[in-house]
């Protein structure tokens, strides 16, 4: 019912390919010490490699971490656990994996998991807030399943307890029975000896008087026969002899008188007044010789043969009664012991059953608080444990629900980001967006207002996560609606702000750069509401200018002396061939590396200047790629703290870009 682990091994490894060998070594050693066959050891090694590789490849795709290995060896099974703190994964189609489907799908995904579940007897994936455990159980099949463990398992604790108690009680009872029986037998025997001895002395005293008075033979005979008859249940023979060992009287046969008396062979004639045993083995027949005396003169002897047989019969009867009584007592004892065992065993069985139910999902019903203090305490402790576990479970469920919601929000947000961008005549356009968390607060969009005018937007909603994302989607919709009505960037943004200022949750604000590009005039007209500067590259000077017109972030509390409209400044630029502009969010400039340094505006300006000064021959998509690479190289494996968004556009001569109607976004 309960099994203690034989051995437990824990180890931690860096989640890198080069440590797979070390993991495998640990696993192999454990398999061997657990007694797995070579085939099973190989299979387990394969399964563990799949598990570990999956952690390295998927759980720690974006970051470095460790794999914790825990192997618990039980008598009949081994529990292998691989624990990581990376991303959790959903084993697809868990449980219903089948090879046919894998083959038909023509994919490789899921094969590792199929192999693990095929090799192991039970696989469980436990994932909760930053802790993932792949728990695999492999049973140890030993060919020679010994009979002893089987028998041992057959007997429950109750039976074991009863058997042992009865065994001990029986030994005690049998021991005391034997002792008492011996004592009684001895007592009875010595009583008999005393009785016979006093009887013999009486006969001797009478006989001495008879001899002195010279009584007749018949009188002698009568004397012994009367004694013999009145004590016939133990006296067998009485012989009176005179000092010359001539028989004076013989209880068996009167004709023996006057003959020489010969004692039975085993009897020593020198031992007087002490019972002698006729047969060393039997001890039932005894012989007693008492001298017939008058004063100090020995006149003859009384020879008595007596038997303890009658006594034995009585003893046996008594023994039978005692044995019967003992048996009855023993039966009651067994019953008592069995009932007593229930007292100890029942609570344990109850607790065990409850724990079983608990593991199969019932967290509600509590253990009744009853039994001795110890059981009371166990039940209480278990109930508390269950309450805590079910609370934790609820928390985990709530967290997972939250994670799911964020996932949904993230999905919604992805659909909100433009999937296709309109082709901008005269401009080469590149955009980039990467969310820091699952749901980001950055926004970019490129819209066609009318055949000649296009609106370009980059915005950053303060905060991250679901609320920022929701405000962002609202912002995007509002811009899409109002940009079509208005012709200048300022007018559009004022209208947007008018709508939004009442709808932005307090404490949240938006910085935005909104630009309107006029295709015919080759004019760019833009406003910035507290946003990062526009980086404008002038082909004639090969330099970048940081353009930062005045403007307050939307959602900022309006002060008395200034309004959003008053502060908003509009800038209009003429675009020459090779000129470029770059709109971005602070996710780029604030991208930090391991040492805490920031990418910074100067580095961004320099990078862009270097790239753009190569001339129009270089493709803007390469520019985009190089810039992203530069940022990623800088931050290394550090998780970005903020969304990264940018829009890069370069002015080109007409005709170069007329071929494509729309442009599909790439990541």
């Amino acid at each position: 019912m309960f099994h203690r682990p034989v051995k437990e091994i824990t180890a931690e490894f860096l989640a890198e390919d080069k440590y797979l060998d070390s993991i495998q070594r640990t696993v192999r050693d454990s398999c061997i010490s657990a007694g797995f066959s070579r085939k099973n050891t190989n299979a387990v090694l394969l399964a563990m490699e799949e598990g570990a590789t999956n952690i390295i490849r998927h759980a720690y795709l974006y970051e470095k971490g460790t794999i914790r290995l825990r192997i618990v060896i039980f008598k009949k099974q081994v529990v292998f656990s691989l624990i990581d703190t990376g991303r959790s994964f959903q084993p697809d189609g868990s449980g219903t994996l089948d090879l046919k489907r894998l083959v038909n799908s023509g994919r490789k995904g899921g094969l590792g998991f199929y192999m693990i579940s095929k090799i192991m007897d039970s696989v469980e994936y436990i994932s909760s807030a930053g802790y993932n455990e792949l728990r695999m159980i492999k049973r140890i099949h030993k060919s020679s399943a010994g009979s002893v463990p089987f028998l041992r398992r057959m007997f429950s604790l109750r039976v074991k307890f009863s058997v042992w108690t009865i065994f001990i009680v029986s030994i005690i009872i049998a021991g005391s029975y034997y002792y008492i029986d011996r004592q009684t037998t001895q007592q009875l025997r010595s009583n008999l000896d005393e009785t016979v001895s006093s009887l013999a002395n009486t006969i001797a005293a009478q006989a001495s008087l008879y001899i002195i008075n010279r009584r007749s033979d018949a009188e002698f005979d009568e004397l012994i026969v009367s004694y013999l008859q009145s004590n016939s249940n133990y006296l067998r023979l009485i012989v009176l002899t005179d000092s010359n060992n001539i028989i004076m009287a013989h209880s068996d046969d009167i004709h023996n008188i006057r003959k020489q008396y010969s004692l039975p062979l085993s009897i020593n004639s020198d031992i007087l007044e002490f019972p002698q045993v006729m047969d060393e083995e039997d001890k039932i027949l005894k012989f007693l010789i008492i001298p017939i005396k008058t004063g100090e003169t020995e006149l003859g002897r009384v020879n008595i043969l007596y038997s303890a047989a009658q006594l034995q019969v009585r003893l046996d009867e008594a023994r039978q009664n005692t044995a019967l009584l003992t048996l009855v007592l023993l039966i009651f004892g067994i019953l008592g012991v069995y009932l007593l065992s229930s007292y100890f065993v029942d609570p344990i069985v109850k607790i065990t059953r409850r724990v079983r139910k608990f593991t199969s999902g019932d967290l509600k019903s509590e253990l009744p608080l009853e039994g001795a203090e110890e059981f009371f305490e166990i039940s209480k402790a278990f109930n508390e444990l269950m309450t805590r576990v079910s609370q934790d479970r609820e928390n985990i469920i709530a967290r997972e629900k939250m994670a799911k919601e964020i996932e949904v929000a993230s999905h919604i947000q992805k659909t909100l980001l433009p999937r296709e961008l309109p082709a901008l005549p005269g401009l080469e356009l590149e955009t980039f967006y990467r969310a820091a968390e699952v749901v980001g607060g950055d926004l970019y969009d490129v819209l066609r207002i009318d055949p000649e005018r296009f609106c370009l937007v980059v915005a950053d909603v303060s905060g991250k996560g679901v609320p920022a994302s929701l405000v962002m989607s609202m912002l995007r919709t509002v811009i899409q609606i109002y940009s079509t009505d208005k012709t200048s960037a300022k007018e559009t943004l004022l209208k947007v702000n008018e709508y939004l200022q009442h709808n932005i949750p307090p404490g949240m604000f938006i910085t935005i750069m909104l630009a309107i590009y006029h295709e015919i005039d080759k004019e760019l007209n833009f406003v910035s509401a507290g946003h990062n500067p526009m980086l404008f590259y002038r082909n004639s000077t090969k330099k970048i200018e940081k353009l930062n017109p005045n403007g307050m972030p939307m959602g900022m509390p309006i002060t008395i002396d200034t309004t959003f409209e008053d502060r908003l400044e509009e800038v209009t630029l003429k675009l020459e061939e090779g000129d470029a502009f770059f709109m971005f969010t602070d996710g780029i400039t604030e991208a930090s590396n391991r040492d805490g340094g920031q990418f910074g505006l100067e580095r961004l300006v320099n990078t862009l200047e270097k790239q753009l000064s190569n001339g129009t021959s270089a493709d803007t998509s390469i520019l985009r790629k190089n810039l992203i690479a530069e940022i990623d190289d800088f931050s290394g494996f550090i998780k970005p703290a903020d969304d990264i968004t940018f829009v890069l556009a370069r002015s080109i001569t007409y005709g170069n870009n007329q071929t494509t109607e729309t442009k599909t976004i790439k990541e």
Partner: protein, 128 residues
């Protein structure tokens, strides 16, 4: 990590390709093998024998290459046949029930013969 060596020999007469692999097929080495097989399939050479005599170990990445291609290969009346598996590898192959999907042979010649038989018996017959 152990290395892998792959040698490819193509028989122009019967269009059967033989790939001899030595080493370990795992996550790090499987891409090399995948490239070789992919190049064969691109050239529509669907009859492939893998000589695994020198392979000590195949991880899911390795099995995945065979499992993911087999359907496509068979639809083109070809096959991927495994030959000369060592006991350790064969046991896993059996345990994971890959024997229900991929055929194995004791030698490369036997695998060759099986291709011959199918072609002779009925050229148009779909191989199961």
């Amino acid at each position: 990590m152990e290395n892998i060596s792959i040698s490819l020999s193509e028989n122009e007469r019967d269009r059967v390709s033989e790939i001899r692999i030595d080493g370990v097929i795992d996550t790090t080495t499987s891409s090399d093998l995948e490239e070789v097989i992919e190049s064969l399939l691109k050239r529509r050479r669907y009859m492939i024998i893998l000589d695994l005599a020198g392979v000590d170990y195949i991880s899911s990445a390795g099995w995945g290459i065979f499992i993911s291609r087999i359907k496509d290969v068979r639809n083109n009346r070809g096959d991927i046949k495994l030959a000369n598996m060592i006991p350790n590898v064969y046991e896993i192959y059996e345990l994971l029930e890959f024997d229900k999907v991929l055929k194995s042979y004791l030698s490369v010649d036997k695998a060759h013969n099986d291709f011959e038989d199918v072609k002779e018996a009925e050229p148009g017959k779909k191989k199961v």
